[in-house]
């Protein structure tokens, strides 16, 4: 009665089914957004201000705001994240402190995004009195993407073979010279991958910017880092839930721009990683 071959066939069928249940909807989501969003995309949509209470016109200020926020976040997170990765890969010993640092990174990655929003509000907006501003939002996003950058950079640094370091040290280079001239250059693709993934995450998150920077609507572009800004993900939220009677086309168009931005960055990261793996000489 129990036929192991048949059981195997049935089991493998269900495993395949489970996989398809994830992959097919993802494909559909992307296809639908492209199909319904593409007609909205034109030069005017990308470069014009929103008009008629965001029911017409473009999304230019939201794009600009997101670029500012993402640049600010990476400017803050990349140096700290990279040096933290250098510490973990080159200096840290296998001790209690290292264990705690790793646990802190895991926790930082797991903190809910809306809690980052609260934190940014309490620290940057209220305590440091930056107000709701690009500075507050960028710093909040920067701390949020820190674990992504640390983890990816650390992996990249650790994958540089130990012998490279030994050769450099044996030639009389100091530890820092070895790191700067040998380890870091060989880890650049991995660091780049992590940075781009961090950028993508920062561009797509809404909850951390809700109370720290995001503006419902602004008639002009932000003038300084102490101004509020519009941002793509928040704009999508606003026009799909807060403003009635927005043309479906505009909603899909905004979703497409945001999705394209984020997926494009991820695609670049995947390509860099893939090419690097192929080219790897060791």
């Amino acid at each position: 009665m129990r036929n192991p071959q048949r059981t195997e066939k049935i089991a493998f069928f269900f495993l395949l089914l489970a996989t398809l249940l994830i992959v097919v909807p993802v494909g559909l989501i992307i296809v639908v957004i492209i199909q319904k969003g593409a007609p909205a995309i034109n030069w005017q949509f990308l470069t014009d201000m929103p008009r008629q209470g965001m029911r017409a016109g473009g999304i230019f200020p939201a794009i600009v705001g997101t670029i500012y926020l993402v640049s600010g976040a990476i400017l803050f997170a990349l140096p700290i994240g990279l040096l933290a990765a250098v510490y973990l890969s080159e200096y840290a010993k296998d001790n209690f402190l290292t264990r705690i640092i790793k646990l802190a990174i895991v926790n930082l990655a797991g903190v809910p995004s809306v809690v980052y929003g609260l934190f940014g509000l309490a620290l940057f907006v209220v305590f440091f009195k930056f107000g709701a501003s690009i500075l507050s939002g960028a710093l909040t996003l920067g701390i949020m993407i820190l674990p992504i950058i640390i983890t990816a950079s650390r992996e990249a640094l650790e994958s540089v073979p130990y012998s490279f370091r030994e050769v450099s040290l044996s030639l009389g280079a100091s530890k820092w010279q070895t790191i700067r001239n040998i380890v870091l250059p060989n880890a650049i693709p991995g660091i780049l991958t992590g940075t781009i993934l961090g950028l993508g995450r920062a561009a797509g998150e809404t909850a951390p910017i809700l109370f720290t920077v995001a503006a419902f609507y602004l008639p002009q572009l932000p003038q300084s880092i102490f101004n509020q800004a519009m941002a793509l993900p928040y704009h999508l939220y606003v026009i799909s839930t807060q403003v009635p009677n927005v043309d479906e086309k505009i909603r899909y168009g905004t979703a497409l721009v945001l999705l394209a931005l984020v997926l494009f960055m991820n695609l670049i990261a995947i390509i860099i990683r893939y090419r690097f793996r192929k080219k790897k000489k060791w």
Partner: protein
């Protein structure tokens, strides 16, 4: 001179190494600083178990039990959907799929992880919500069920990638041994590989659930946001995260409503901390 420069650089590196600890503590401290003020006004017991959330009525009722139960309902629903599918897909990708397909599937799942939650929320609003409404003949499709389905898609990438990793790093010799003894591939996977990777898979499931509990935008857009104690998955609910996101914009800095939202933040932080520390223990047990 160079010695001094290197000394400074190395201290800087150490400082950045400690930054993660610093930031976690900073987040916790600032949540406490703002949130604990609430407990001068009402007791933690009344806050956690009070069954009415009317933050702007006079006097305000600040019981978060409906919100906790809202989060629980949505999370349990998402777990029921995402765990079997996620673990199944991880098994398929790690053990069954041919190499080329494997790479494609992994990339597809990475793409899912990359889609911003506000985009998933939007897609849920325009597709899933109307389906649920007509399918169950409800007055509104903004229900806990819709939220659970959408959130399941956010948990699955986490579950699949970590579980796949756990299966991949289980010793290959186990499987070879089972196959050599005449087991079919499925028997080897089900009876040998799955138990061998069980602690990693458990960690994957926990982290997936952690992602669901902390998810904000999609859940706020499609669960209907009614702060009442849920009695069925086919009615609107409001989660802890959505409450913060929806109300903080209107709360006056320094008001009891403001403090209460931070107190909810403490609850969320504590939950995610517990989940991450436990999952990390399971992941380390494996090594």
């Amino acid at each position: 001179m160079r010695k001094v420069k290197e000394f400074i650089i190395e201290k800087l590196i150490l400082l950045c190494g400690l930054a993660s600890i610093f930031f976690v503590l900073l987040i916790f401290l600032f949540l406490l600083k703002e949130g604990l003020s609430l407990f001068k006004i009402i007791s933690p017991f009344k806050f956690l178990l009070g069954d009415k959330w009317y933050p702007i009525s006079e006097p305000a009722r600040l019981g978060i039990l409906p919100l906790i139960l809202g989060s629980v309902v949505v999370t349990v629903g998402a777990a029921v959907i995402s765990i079997p599918i996620g673990v199944g897909a991880a098994l398929y990708i790690a053990e069954v799929a041919p190499l080329k397909l494997k790479e494609v599937l992994k990339a597809g799942i990475e793409l899912l992880a990359a889609i911003p939650s506000v985009v998933l929320g939007f897609i849920g609003m325009v597709t899933l919500v109307p389906w649920v409404k007509t399918l169950f003949k409800l007055p509104t499709g903004l229900t806990a069920l819709s939220g659970s389905i959408m959130l399941a898609f956010m948990a699955m990438p986490t579950i699949v990638s970590i579980a796949e990793d756990a299966l991949y790093s289980a010793p290959k010799t186990y499987k070879e041994g089972a196959l050599a003894l005449g087991a079919t591939r499925w028997q080897a996977i089900w009876r040998v590989m799955l138990p061998a990777a069980s602690s990693g898979i458990l960690a994957a499931v926990m982290l997936g659930i952690g992602r669901v509990i902390g998810e904000t935008m999609a859940v706020m857009m499609i669960t209907g946001n009614a702060a009442v104690i849920p009695t069925s998955i086919l009615q609107p609910v409001r989660t802890l995260t959505a409450t913060i996101a929806a109300e903080m914009g209107e709360a006056v800095v320094g008001s009891e409503h403001y403090f209460a939202l931070f107190a909810i933040g403490i609850v969320l932080f504590a939950i995610s901390f517990a989940i991450n520390v436990t999952a990390d223990m399971f992941l380390h047990k494996r090594r």
